[in-house]
């Protein structure tokens, strides 16, 4: 037995495994530091007036209520528009056009849209909506977010429908059920938990998006529910406040960041619960 070779192999094994543990510790430590700072700074700035008062000039006890409301309104609109489109397109890819050439192209384009820089979606909606309407508006913001919702929902819907066993479809078809009816009452129902997961992930994704809102919904210092006017959103206010010199605004930015992170994390955890429910089915 070649002991020197053996010792060298053992040494390099030890060394590289130690390096990989070090890499893991290093990476996880940074992520823990970021979350820790966010929790400490955000919790320190948190109080009830953040949820009740709208944004105001520094020193006059402003909150974030209009920004929270704006984010909610635009997210709800975006999901209401984007989800049906996403589910229908995903259904086409999985049910009707599973092997067609057209589907290959749509799948490819959808995956590109899924990871395309979100700021470019903002530019697209700016050119398409803002330029033609002549002003920034909550409609434009919601449209930009809807464009971000669609690819996520398409992807998960298609994947989930593909997991539905073909025997279910065949059994329903053998009863003489029309195809559209099979899809709506059998396959959609079987894939319900998975599709729900996709929608939750899409909401989680748009609730923290800043870049596409900057020049579509812009921002608004006042409480406004007018969809045809600029509207504040939590990420846009954080962006504005963090860049300002005011300490009070910095604290509000931290509080807003904590609210967004908690919302995103709870949505992702909810999505996981749906996912595990699907697995146990």
């Amino acid at each position: 037995m070649n002991l020197r070779l053996y010792a060298r192999r053992r040494f390099s094994n030890r060394m590289f495994l130690t390096l990989s543990v070090a890499a893991a510790a290093f990476g996880i430590a940074w992520l823990a530091i970021i979350l820790g700072t966010l929790l400490v700074q955000g919790a320190a700035a948190m109080n009830l007036s953040i949820f009740t008062n709208p944004t105001a000039s520094a020193g006059s006890n402003g909150g974030l209520s209009n920004a929270i409301l704006g984010s909610l309104i635009m997210s709800v609109l975006a999901v209401a528009v984007g989800t049906p489109i996403g589910i229908l397109a995903g259904t086409y890819l999985a049910e009707y056009g599973r092997h067609s050439r057209f589907s290959v192209i749509v799948r490819f384009v959808n995956d590109i849209l899924l990871s395309a820089p979100s700021i470019l979606i903002g530019l697209f909606i700016y050119e398409l909506v803002v330029v033609h309407m002549g002003h920034f508006s909550a409609y434009a913001g919601a449209a930009a977010l809807a464009v971000l919702v669609v690819p996520v929902v398409v992807r998960t819907t298609e994947n989930m429908l593909l997991l539905v066993p073909n025997t279910l479809r065949e059994a329903a078809a053998a009863l003489g059920t029309p195809r559209a009816f099979v899809i709506r009452t059998v396959t959609w129902r079987a894939a319900r938990a998975g599709i729900m997961t996709g929608i939750l992930l899409a909401i989680a994704r748009i609730s923290g998006e800043t870049a596409p809102l900057l020049f579509t919904a812009l921002n608004n210092s006042f409480s406004s529910t007018d969809l045809n006017a600029p509207m504040a959103s939590l990420p846009a206010v954080i962006f504005q406040y963090a860049a300002s010199p005011s300490d009070e605004w910095h604290r509000l930015a931290w509080a807003g960041a904590l609210i967004i992170t908690l919302a995103v994390l709870s949505l992702s955890i909810l999505a996981r619960i749906f996912e595990s429910k699907r697995m146990s089915q």
């Binding site: 390096l19 992520l31 086409y92 590109i112 820089p117 470019l120 050119e127």
Partner: protein, 330 residues
Amino acid sequence: MADVALPPSRLPPSLAAALRSFGRSDARFRWLTLGAAWLVLLIFIGIIASLWQGAWPAFRTFGFGFFSGTVWNPVTEKFGAFPAIYGTLVTSALAMLVAVPVGIGIAIFLTELCPRPLRRPVGIAIELLAGIPSIIYGIWGLFVFAPFFQQSVEPWIIGAFADIPGLSTLFAGPPYGIGIFTASLILSIMILPFISAVTRDVFETVPPMLKEAAYGLGCTTWEVMWSVVLPFARSGVVGGAMLALGRALGETMAVTFVIGNAHHIVTSLLAPGTTISATIANEFTEALGDLYVSSLVAIGMILFLITFVVLAAAQLMLRSLEARSGGRSQ
């Protein structure tokens, strides 16, 4: 049952009407889903068309000089994209340089070394972190990382590398805190969970039999990872890294706060610079004049082209992996 197979003309009228209406609603639903699929395609075409339309005045005015021009001056209406392209490429490359080895290290740790009870929680934590919005990384970078970097790390780097040719120009002072290097590090932290999550998923598709066979021959854990798992998972790991690169190239909020938004090219990585997305985010709403707006859309178009190439390559690599593993598993 036999009735259904008869020609509609010989069916009782009520049944024939019901069948026809089923047929119509069936066709309607099919067209509806096809329309939605077309809409996805139209969004994509719309993005290209609108960016091209918006960018055209800038391309027409500056020609190919737009790509190589280094002046970005709104006052004299002279715009060149090179500093922004340079910043985008350099920050992304540096971020990948840090994040890829560390991300793969985390994936190796998770699949081979982590104690079994910890494996799932740590894995889930990494996946959750991949979903944290980038603006969180941005404000953490601005308020916590940049000041710390400026006071503690940068002076040390500048001092340590001062006498080494090459490195002394790359890491020349003064310590601003914000700059290309800071932005790269924050980007790398941001794409880290993404790379580790994808890599871990790919590692788990490696058949246990292959690994067991290698262990049976007496390979060490590292040898199994390096000679069996990594070659098997190569296209998936590269595809995942390309997806992460696509994110890094287009990332806006994590970078905008800490890059400094300076349109010039300095050899020192510690100096402020800019990226395409940071330039658009910082200047778009305040841009006056058609040529200024058009130039911003034009650099957006360039960003779109760069990310398209990277993401398309990532798709091809991940697709070949899916084809091999026999299913479209996520």
